[in-house]
Symmetry: C2
Subunit: 249 residues, 2 copies
DNA sequence: CCAAAAGTGTTCCATCTACACCCATGG
DNA sequence: CCATGGGTGTAGATGGAACACTTTTGG
């Protein structure tokens, strides 16, 4: 067997940035339309290149700062996984170190360098997948049963997003769901503090059921230990004002 | 602010390879003593360099083949995380893509290229950490409360293993523990099939308590759904022979 | 028949589920 | 004072923990 070439791959950082629309009560993911090769014209997740003097999580934070002007600290990101399939990007070998980012705000969007357009896409649950929808634009998510191996072997041609970003998004949502019952960091998209109603709305969305199916009283009892009362209430509409909570660390 | 240099880092694959000693009932981790810089003479996890024509998980499998001569398929490895701290290795910037590997056998060891010695180290639970012990050699594990940030800031000088391998081992054991109640893939170290007694022994070790504290009857009821009876029994000693089970997928 | 180890059953208690009820605010 | 939504309490169902008991093998 011949000795294999050891090369230096490009190392990119790719973020799944989550936010929340308090009006439509939708979980949002940031996608941008690429204005450069590879995948020019295609929509995909924000990506940057790792620099020599920064760790990958620092790069993930820098990416958020560059694309959205929002400064975050490192406890607002989580490493998702590293995607290394040989042909995942045409041309140069490129690894993707991926992170999940929970934005406590929903900033205005300005397309920056490398992007023709930027938009928030609503995570839209279907029976066995999650689509990403922004007005007229809609991207069908991978169905739940698709494994990474399946994706690279079969589904690759059918995906509408750049590279393997459909797989990255699916992986991210799966992770978020797994964490709902013990470390629901996704709730950070609701801001530093939130009402339990809002929390239940987000749970309902991710569990693919309606808010009314999650009993208020029981939700407090089963998940209350994860929250901490901030102590003040906020009279916002009709009915009794809700207390405000924050995630315990 | 000046533009930062975008370089191509070295990308290494580092494995936490688990096995099991059926005689001493110990969980084992493979360490080797380096015969090359950096960290010459220090003990550390098996590491290789990612090649141009292979994915990271393929490289993890190749590493096992090279060091142990054991051929595995990709469902016997799991991505652990990617370690990218800027100064984690002196000299060249090096990223570590880490994998966990569960060996269904305990192969004989032969030091190969780049290693002065190779040994199995027993995961030895203490009150708030796990040490790695092999006869006269012993490495103190990081205590449970040390975060990654803590490690790189404070604990770095005190660690006895190469680079950040103490942190990688700690992260691996933490992951293994988290999975015990829903996806105990660590049980693969017991081979393709195993008795529930062996499973409880491994659980006891990882939960830092004695086997007698895990009730046989209750263990079946709480974790039985994770296993599948292979169907035959194996008369191995005195007492009623145990049925043999395997992990459900 | 006895010892040893595997496997089963039973009771008790904690926790979750469903649902009724009470509380605080706006109009 | 009534409508609206937030917050509390309670009875039944479910699942885990402790422990007694039965089964199957070797000697």
């Amino acid at each position: 067997m011949s000795e294999q070439i050891v090369e230096r791959p490009l190392v990119s950082i790719t973020n799944v940035i989550f936010s929340f629309d308090t009006v439509t009560k939708q979980l949002l993911v940031l996608l941008l339309q690429r204005s450069q090769a590879p995948f020019m014209g295609a929509w995909g997740l924000p990506t940057t290149t790792l620099r020599s003097n920064e760790s990958a999580d620092a790069a993930a934070l820098r990416l958020v700062k560059e694309k959205l002007g929002v400064h975050l600290t490192s406890n607002q990101t989580e490493q998702l996984g590293t995607f290394t399939n040989v042909g995942r990007v045409p041309g140069q070998r490129t690894l993707a170190l991926t992170y999940m980012v929970y934005l406590p705000v929903k900033p205005a969007l300005i397309p920056g360098a490398g992007a023709r357009a930027v938009r928030w896409f609503a995570v839209t649950p279907r029976t066995d997948r999650d689509d990403l929808v922004a007005g007229d634009l809609s991207f069908t998510g991978l169905t739940d049963d698709v494994s990474a191996a399946d994706f690279y072997q079969r589904e690759r041609g059918t995906t509408q997003l750049a590279a393997d970003h459909a797989l990255i998004v699916k992986t991210a949502l799966q992770r978020v769901r797994n964490r709902l019952n013990y470390a629901p960091t996704i709730l950070r998209v609701l801001g530093v503090s939130f009402t339990l109603k809002r929390a239940r709305e987000l749970y309902a969305l991710l569990e693919r059921r309606s808010v009314s199916q999650i009993d208020n009283s029981n939700f407090r009892k089963t998940h209350g230990h994860l929250f901490e009362q901030v102590g003040f209430v906020r009279g916002n509409g009709s009915g009794r004002p809700a207390r405000v909570y924050r995630l315990k660390d």
